[in-house]
């Protein structure tokens, strides 16, 4: 079976959200079609031609800014280049305001089998504050359109600890989310990045104690509603974990397409330069740059820190036995669990996992 994945980055957004520091910009006229051509050309020129892809993920930015025909061209390029017969998951990210019936139907017919939609909150006031272009009602409508188009695997993103959000506001967001019953939910605690409108205007994160309560409330409610808290920020119904994202957390390989995309192949973490104009001018034939060559130490470190992001945890054998008293203490304090020769973190442990993981990182 194939173990290779592909990530495609769409570097466009109609409007940049106030909290976002990802690579994206509003598309210039004609830029989208020029970009799609370049992206298809990059895919077709892949040195991995002929290999089977297990998952494909189109992220951004706002992939739903690409038209139905753009997607048709994209999928054609993928099909011409790679073997997609064993592709178990093909995800496209979207924003609620750009989901239409025909778009959804076309994507479904092209073989896209999973949609990840950024909802963030069901409070219209909070959505405006975040700089989102949709309302709560539009998000619910988009969800129905996707369902009606045939999508049986939908993920929704929610944000917690928004400015001025209190516990009851988060609780009602979670309730509305649960009532829609998507297969997968990601919940992120708002982080204020320096070079974002929020960061530049002095918006601050909620205090630690509030963030903590919100995180634990999310854990309790979603777990009770039948979702497995399988990664620090991710929840899934039985059998609906994000297969593509799990590739990241288990050290799997993935190819990168589109400006700003990251890949990992043959021990090298690489990135496509974040320059859309140059990407288009060279028709996608740009040289990626090496971000890191993963040596034996780095591989060990990654396995530990990525593995502990997941509820599955890591084999005990990966941890220096001198650290056992520390693990014991973590378990006594309810931060970790030792079972079946594995060590994993609890929801409380996830909350302080940077501190735990940095203590468990191997020595160079």
């Amino acid at each position: 079976m194939s173990n290779l994945s592909a990530y495609l980055h769409v570097p466009f957004c109609r409007r940049k959200c106030n909290y976002c520091d990802f690579f994206s910009a509003p598309p210039a006229p004609e830029a989208v079609s020029s970009y799609v051509n370049a992206l298809c050309s990059q895919i077709r020129a892949s040195s991995c031609r002929g290999e089977a892809l297990r998952t494909v993920y189109v992220g951004g930015g706002t992939p739903s800014l690409l038209s139905e025909d753009d997607f048709t061209a994209l999928v054609a390029a993928l099909l011409d280049t790679f073997d997609l017969t064993s592709c178990v998951e093909f995800t496209v990210e979207c924003n609620p305001e750009s989901v239409t019936e025909s778009w959804a139907k076309r994507l479904y017919s092209l073989g896209v089998n999973r949609i990840s939609m950024g909802v963030q909150t069901f409070s219209d006031a909070a959505l405006r504050r975040l700089g989102r272009l949709h309302t709560a009602a539009e998000a619910e409508k988009a969800f129905r359109i996707l369902r009606d188009a045939g999508f049986s695997n939908i993920s929704m993103d929610l944000m917690a600890a928004l400015p001025e959000q209190d516990l009851s506001a988060l609780e009602s967001d979670l309730d509305r989310m649960i009532s829609l019953s998507p297969e997968h939910i990601s919940v992120y605690l708002l982080k204020i990045e320096p070079n974002t409108p929020f960061g530049l205007t002095g918006v601050t994160e909620q205090d630690e104690e509030t963030q903590r309560k919100m995180y634990l409330l999310t854990h309790q409610k979603l777990t009770k509603a039948g979702y497995e808290h399988y990664e620090i920020s991710n929840f899934a119904k039985q059998g609906r974990r994000a297969v593509h994202n799990c590739v990241y957390w288990t050290g799997g390989e993935y190819l990168a397409f589109g400006p700003g995309a990251s890949g990992f192949r043959d021990g090298v973490r690489y990135r496509i330069p974040e320059n859309t104009a140059e990407f288009c001018r060279l028709n996608g034939l740009v040289s990626p740059f090496v971000e890191e060559r993963v040596d034996a130490y780095a591989q060990k470190a990654e396995a530990i820190f990525l593995g502990l992001r997941m509820s599955d945890g890591i084999p005990l054998a990966w941890i220096d036995c001198k650290k056992m008293p520390f693990l014991q203490r973590l378990c006594e304090e309810g931060l970790g669990v030792l079972a079946d020769q594995r060590f994993s973190l609890t929801a409380e442990g996830f909350l302080v996992s940077d501190g735990i993981v940095s203590a468990l990182m191997p020595d160079k």
């Binding site: 990530y7 957390w249 700003g260 971000e291 990525l306 203490r329 909350l351 940077d354 993981v357």
Partner: protein
Amino acid sequence: MYDISKIRNFSIIAHIDHGKSTLADRLLELTETVEKREMEDQVLDNMDLEKEHGITIKARAVKLEYKAKDGETYILNLIDTPGHVDFHYEVSRALAACEGALLVVDASQGIEAQTLANTYLALDGDLEILPVINKIDLPAADPDRVIREIEDTIGIPAEDAPRISAKNGINIQDVLEQVVRDVPAPEGDPDAPLKALIFDSYYDAYRGVVVYVRLKDGSLSKGQKIRMMSTGAEFDVVELGYLSPFGCRPAETLRAGEVGYIMASIKTVSDTRVGDTVTLAENPASEPLPGYKKANPMVYCGIYCADGSRYEDLRDALDKLSLNDASMTYEPEHSIALGFGFRCGFLGLLHMEIMQERIEREFNLDLITTAPGVVYRLTMADGSTVYIDNPTNYPSPGSIVEAEEPIVKTDIIAPSDFVGTVMELCKERRGVFKNMEYIDASRVDLHYDMPLNEIIYDFFDTLKARTRGYASLDYEFSRYVKSDLVKMDILLNGEVVDALSFIVPAERAYARGRKLTEKLKENIPRQLFEVPIQAAIGSKIIARETVRAMRKDVLAKCYGGDITRKKKLLEKQKEGKKRMRQLGTIEVPQEAFMAVLKLDE
């Protein structure tokens, strides 16, 4: 031409900031030993640390040639001395190589406690004291008052003292004339068996130990074999010569009365003891020169490397530094909390701080030091007497019959407006008032007996702060006095941290325990687990604080493009932890061990 009657060996004694180094610079300039354009401010203070502190730590020597008004050319050897209270030993070394000393006094501030202490040291050594009134151009200058003060307090004539401004180069030549006229020429016989006093030395990575000597009798030439009289070790002189501000100027021969350096491929530091006498292997002197009064360390602390693997480097640093500062003692010790390190003894708190900084800067080591303590004398149940310089070794109370702590005779000179303030402070610090003298209408000299333990906790800083910087302090060991002492332990997460234990008078225990636990709470960062901090005497807990556990420490997102960056962040976090001491499952930053040093009660 060698002519012993034209040699003058002198040093300068002064209080910090009274302008000693600036005067030294002017003397170098005027004798054209240093060209004006080469003149870096304060040439003699050539350690960075000295420039920053504005004080001279190590004695330095330099040879000047001066054509006096009588038409003759004189050789003036200026031997620099430190001014601070902690450096008596250094001062006494420098003075032993001289026949005279310039006593520099600030025309506005007058005599200070340390000036007095060093002047008495010079008088003890039968040196000619030549007063110099500096900073006469300051608006507040009152040279007449200061001259009266010198005559009244020290009892030496000062009417003819040069009135100068070292900073602005006023009347500097008067100082040189005074040196030529009043400092006695050295006495000594260049043909007698060699007797040379080692008054300083340092380690040069390429040439081995370089010793600074004052020849009292005899002559020494390149190629001769020398013998150290206290150890009997013998070496061939590879090079010798005179000292300039820019290093060594080689010569063929050094003769009685002269000051210079010797290099003899000396590798081991312990072979060249400051205060020892150098003689010739053939035709040795029959008796060594009298050595210096050995200064005994009064303040002790533990010194450890932040990076435990650099223990050997620390030993090396201590070996090298002790070469030119024999007043520092060190012995290996082991702490459960801090690993392998050294118990070091110093003459005082400033001495301790200076040495720590020198180790850190000159040897590029990160140090952790434990709270300074004094040496306690205990009479045990079996009748024996033990001296304890490390709280860890303090015996259980049941086995002690009597505990005594060191008391120092303390002189504090302060403006009379601050008498009340100073008395209050001394009382807080368990001082016993002896008497008080008026130096003049506006300044008093207060005499106290104080426990040394009180002085090493921030006393000097507090004194300065409460007297707006006007008070000066000097102290010397007096005697041991019976005291009600207890050993206080600090527990982190229920475990005693040996490096934080200290001895405290019983009456202070509660206050100090509370203060210390609070201070530790500020200095220990929140971590994964709650950290209880307790202060205990024996098994009795007298104070408690808690560092709450970390509540949130996680970056929510980590996808394909975040892995490298995220891994680096975690590695950085791990490195940060490395700088902390791991005590069980608790991480204690280095600063926490130091925090106990500054406890303003």
